[in-house]
C-alpha cells in the first residue's frame, strides 16, 4: 500500500526513476515512518497478510480439499474440534460438519472466495467511480449534474439493498442453467454497483480543486488533451483519499458479500464463501454444533476488522491535520 502511494505522484515525471531510488523513497517516506511506529497498523497488516497468504495457498495448505466430495467420509460427520474423526481417523482441528468436511480446510477456500469477490468488486467500483468522478469534475455542466444526481440516489440507498436489486434483476435476465457459473460475476457486479458513488464524489471534489491549479493550465497550454490531463496529472493527485476509501470499502465489500451469501442470494453452496459457510452453519447452531458456524464467523470478523483498522490508520496517517 505504501508502495503505490509513494510512487503515484512520480509517475508523471519524464525521467526514469531507478528501482533503488524508488525503494529509498518508499522507506524514507512519512507514511513508512508512521507505519513503523504504529503497533495497530503492524498487527493488523500482519493479520491481513496471514489470511491473504492462507487464501492464496489454499490448495497447498488445506489438509483436505473440502469441496471434493470423494475425499469426504460421512463417518467423520459432526466431529468436535481437536478430535479425531470416527471414519478416517484424521485430526479435525476445528471440527467437521454433517458431511465430514473439515471446517479448517473449508476456511481456506472460503476466505479465498470472500477475498476474491471483495477485491474484484472494489476494483470494479473504483474504476467506475474514478472514471465518472473525473468526467463530472473535469467536464462539468450537464454531464456533471446527471452523474452526481445518480450518485446521490445510490448513496441514499443502503448498499445491501442495491446489491439485492441488481442481483434479483440479473437473475431474472440470466437463464437458470447458467446461473451457477455466473454467480461470482453477478455478485461482484452487484456489490460493485452499490459502492461506486463515494469514489465519484471524492474524485469529483478533488478534480474541481485541481482543475484550476496552475499546473493543469500549463498542461493545457502545452496542448495535452483533456483526457491526458485527467489521467496523468489530475488522477495521481486525487489518489490518496481514494485509496483510504478503497481500503475501508474492501472490508465493507467482504461483509456485504458475506451478508448476501448468508441471506441465500449470494454464492451457491458448491462455491462457499465465508458467508455461505456461516449460513450452512446456522442450522446446526440450535442443536449445539457451534463450531460449524463459529470458526467461519471468527475468520470473517478478523478479516474485516484487520482491514478496517488498516483503513482507519491509513486515513489518519494521510491526514496532515492529525499529525
Amino acid at each position: 500500500m505504501s508502495d503505490t502511494l509513494a510512487k503515484a505522484p512520480q509517475s508523471t515525471k519524464p525521467a526514469r526513476i531507478t528501482f533503488a531510488e524508488r525503494r529509498r523513497r518508499v522507506f524514507d517516506s512519512d507514511l513508512w515512518h508512521a507505519f513503523k511506529t504504529s503497533p495497530v497498523a503492524i498487527v493488523s497488516t500482519a493479520l491481513a497478510l496471514v489470511l491473504i497468504v492462507a487464501a492464496l495457498l489454499a490448495d497447498v495448505l488445506a489438509p483436505q480439499n473440502a469441496f471434493d466430495t470423494a475425499q469426504l467420509n460421512l463417518l467423520d460427520g459432526y466431529t468436535h474440534p481437536l478430535e479425531r474423526g470416527a471414519g478416517s481417523g484424521m485430526l479435525f482441528f476445528m471440527g467437521s460438519d454433517d458431511q465430514g468436511r473439515d471446517i479448517f480446510s473449508a476456511l481456506f477456500y472460503g476466505t479465498r472466495l470472500s477475498l476474491l469477490v471483495g477485491l474484484a468488486s472494489v476494483v470494479f467500483s473504483l474504476v467506475l467511480g474514478i472514471a465518472l468522478g473525473l468526467l463530472a469534475g473535469y467536464l462539468g455542466g450537464r454531464t456533471e449534474t446527471v452523474i452526481m444526481r445518480v450518485a446521490d440516489i445510490q448513496l441514499s440507498f443502503p448498499a445491501i439493498l442495491i446489491a439485492l436489486l441488481v442481483f434479483g434483476v440479473a437473475r431474472g435476465l440470466i437463464a437458470p442453467q447458467h446461473y451457477e457459473n455466473t454467480a461470482i460475476g453477478v455478485i461482484i457486479v452487484a456489490i460493485g454497483l452499490s459502492n461506486w458513488a463515494q469514489y465519484a464524489r471524492t474524485v469529483r471534489a478533488s478534480t474541481l480543486v485541481e482543475r484550476n491549479k496552475d499546473y493543469v493550465q500549463a498542461a493545457r497550454l502545452m496542448g495535452i488533451s483533456g483526457f491526458g490531463i485527467m489521467a496523468r496529472h489530475v488522477l495521481p493527485n486525487v489518489m490518496g483519499p481514494v485509496l483510504v476509501i478503497a481500503t475501508i470499502n474492501l472490508a465493507l465489500a467482504i461483509i456485504e458479500e458475506a451478508t448476501l451469501s448468508f441471506l441465500g442470494v449470494g454464492l451457491p453452496v458448491t462455491q462457499p464463501s465465508l458467508g455461505t459457510l456461516i449460513r450452512s452453519g446456522q442450522k446446526f447452531l440450535l442443536s449445539g454444533e457451534w463450531w460449524i458456524l463459529f470458526f467461519p464467523a471468527l475468520v470473517l470478523i478478523l478479516l474485516a476488522l484487520s482491514i478496517n483498522l488498516l483503513g482507519d490508520w491509513l486515513r489518519d496517517a494521510l491526514n496532515p491535520r492529525l499529525r
Binding site: 440516489i153 441514499s156 440507498f157 443502503p158 445491501i160 439493498l161 439485492l164 436489486l165 442481483f167 434479483g168 434483476v169 437473475r171 431474472g172 435476465l173 472490508a251 461483509i255 458475506a258 451478508t259 448468508f262 441471506l263 441465500g264 442470494v265 456461516i278 446456522q282 447452531l285 440450535l286 449445539g288 457451534w290 458456524l293 464467523a297 470473517l300 470478523i301 474485516a304 476488522l305 478496517n308 483498522l309 482507519d312
Partner: protein, 327 residues
C-alpha cells in the same frame, strides 16, 4: 420558508419519479410478463392478444404513465409466485417491519447520543476509550453475526428469549403490535438490539466527532471566558450545535434501518417486509421487488423531507433565509 419547502418537495418528486422509473423498467423488461401469466399451452395468438389487452403494445411513455397512475391508486400488480395483489402482501407485513425499525431507531438515537456526548466530554477516560474500541468492533461486525450470536447466547444457551417470530400479537384493525403481550415484547428484544446496534455505533461516533469539533470553536472559548458553567456550555452551546448534522444523519439512518431490516428479519424469521423482499429476490418475483423498491424510495423521500424541515427547528439562522443547507 415557502420557497424552500417547494424546492424540497419538487426534489422529492423527482427522486420518486426516478425510483418509479427503475421499478417500471424492472417490471417491464426483466422476465416476460406475458409468459408469467399464460399457461404453457398458449399459442402465439393468445400471447399477442394478452399482450394487447395488458397494453404492452403501447409506446413506452404511455405505459410508464399508466404504471404511475396505477401505483398512485395503490395497484402495484400481482405477485408472480403468490398470485395475490402486491399491495396486500406489503400492507400485511408493514406493521411488523415498522415496529421493529422505529424501536431500533429510537434505541440507536437515544443510546448513541448519550454515549457520544459521554465519550466526547471524557475524552481521556478509561470507560470512554473502552466504549470507543468496542464501537470499532461493532462497525466491523456484520449485522447477521450479531443476531446469530445473540440467538446462540440468549435463545440456545440461556433459553431466556425466543429465537424467531413475533410472538403473540394484538390486532387493531389492519395494524398489529407485539408490544402488548409478554411473548411479543420478549420477541422484540433481540431483533431490535441487532438492528439498532450498527446505527448506534454510527450515531455515537458522529456525535463524539462533532462535539469535539464544536468544543474547539471560538464561541465555546468565549462562553468559558464569560464564566458560564460547564453544564451550560456543554449542553446549551456545544450539544445544540452538534445536533444539526446529527439529526440529518440520524434521520437518514431511519430509512436505512428499514432497509437493513432485510438482514435482521431473515436472521430472526421476522414476518416483515425485508423477509418478503429477500424471498422475492430468491424466486425472482419482479412485482414484489419493484414494489418494495418503490416503498423504500417513498420512505427515504419522506424522511428526507422531514429532516429538511427539522433544520428550521434546530438552526435559527436558516429561518427566513432561502439557502438550502448542505447535506
Amino acid at each position: 420558508m415557502f420557497a424552500y419547502l417547494l424546492r424540497s418537495l419538487s426534489q422529492a418528486t423527482l427522486v420518486m419519479l426516478a425510483v418509479a422509473f427503475i421499478a417500471f423498467s424492472m417490471f417491464r423488461y426483466v422476465g416476460d410478463p406475458v409468459a408469467s401469466l399464460v399457461g404453457t399451452e398458449a399459442t402465439i395468438k393468445d400471447r399477442e392478444e394478452l399482450s394487447r389487452s395488458l397494453g404492452l403494445d403501447d409506446p413506452f411513455p404511455i405505459q410508464f404513465v399508466r404504471f404511475l397512475a396505477n401505483a398512485a391508486q395503490g395497484d402495484l400488480g400481482i405477485s408472480y409466485r403468490q398470485g395475490r395483489p402486491v399491495v396486500d402482501l406489503i400492507l400485511e407485513r408493514l406493521p411488523a417491519t415498522l415496529e421493529l425499525a422505529l424501536l431500533s431507531a429510537a434505541l440507536a438515537f437515544i443510546v448513541g447520543l448519550g454515549l457520544g456526548v459521554y465519550t466526547a466530554l471524557n475524552r481521556r477516560g478509561v470507560l470512554a476509550n473502552i466504549v470507543m474500541s468496542l464501537s470499532l468492533v461493532g462497525v466491523s461486525l456484520p449485522t447477521f453475526l450479531i443476531g446469530v450470536g445473540l440467538i446462540f447466547l440468549f435463545a440456545v444457551n440461556l433459553r431466556w428469549l425466543p429465537s424467531f417470530g413475533r410472538g403473540e400479537t394484538v390486532a387493531f384493525g389492519w395494524w398489529t403490535t407485539g408490544l402488548l403481550t409478554e411473548s411479543g415484547r420478549k420477541s422484540l428484544i433481540m431483533p431490535v438490539v441487532t438492528l439498532g446496534f450498527y446505527q448506534l455505533t454510527l450515531i455515537m461516533r458522529l456525535v463524539r466527532a462533532q462535539m469535539l469539533e464544536v468544543m474547539r470553536a471560538d464561541y465555546i472559548r468565549f462562553a468559558r471566558a464569560r464564566g458560564l458553567t460547564e453544564r451550560t456550555i456543554n449542553f446549551r452551546h456545544a450539544l445544540r450545535n452538534t445536533m444539526v448534522p446529527v439529526v440529518t444523519i440520524a434521520g437518514l439512518q431511519l430509512g436505512s434501518v428499514i432497509a437493513f431490516a432485510i438482514v435482521t428479519e431473515t436472521v430472526f424469521n421476522w414476518p416483515g417486509l425485508g423477509a418478503l423482499f429477500v424471498r422475492s429476490v430468491e424466486v425472482v418475483d419482479i412485482p414484489v421487488m419493484a414494489a418494495y423498491l418503490m416503498f423504500v424510495g417513498l420512505v427515504f423521500v419522506v424522511v428526507n423531507l422531514v429532516v429538511d424541515l427539522l433544520y428550521f427547528a434546530l438552526d435559527p439562522r436558516l429561518r427566513g433565509a432561502t439557502a438550502v443547507p448542505a447535506r
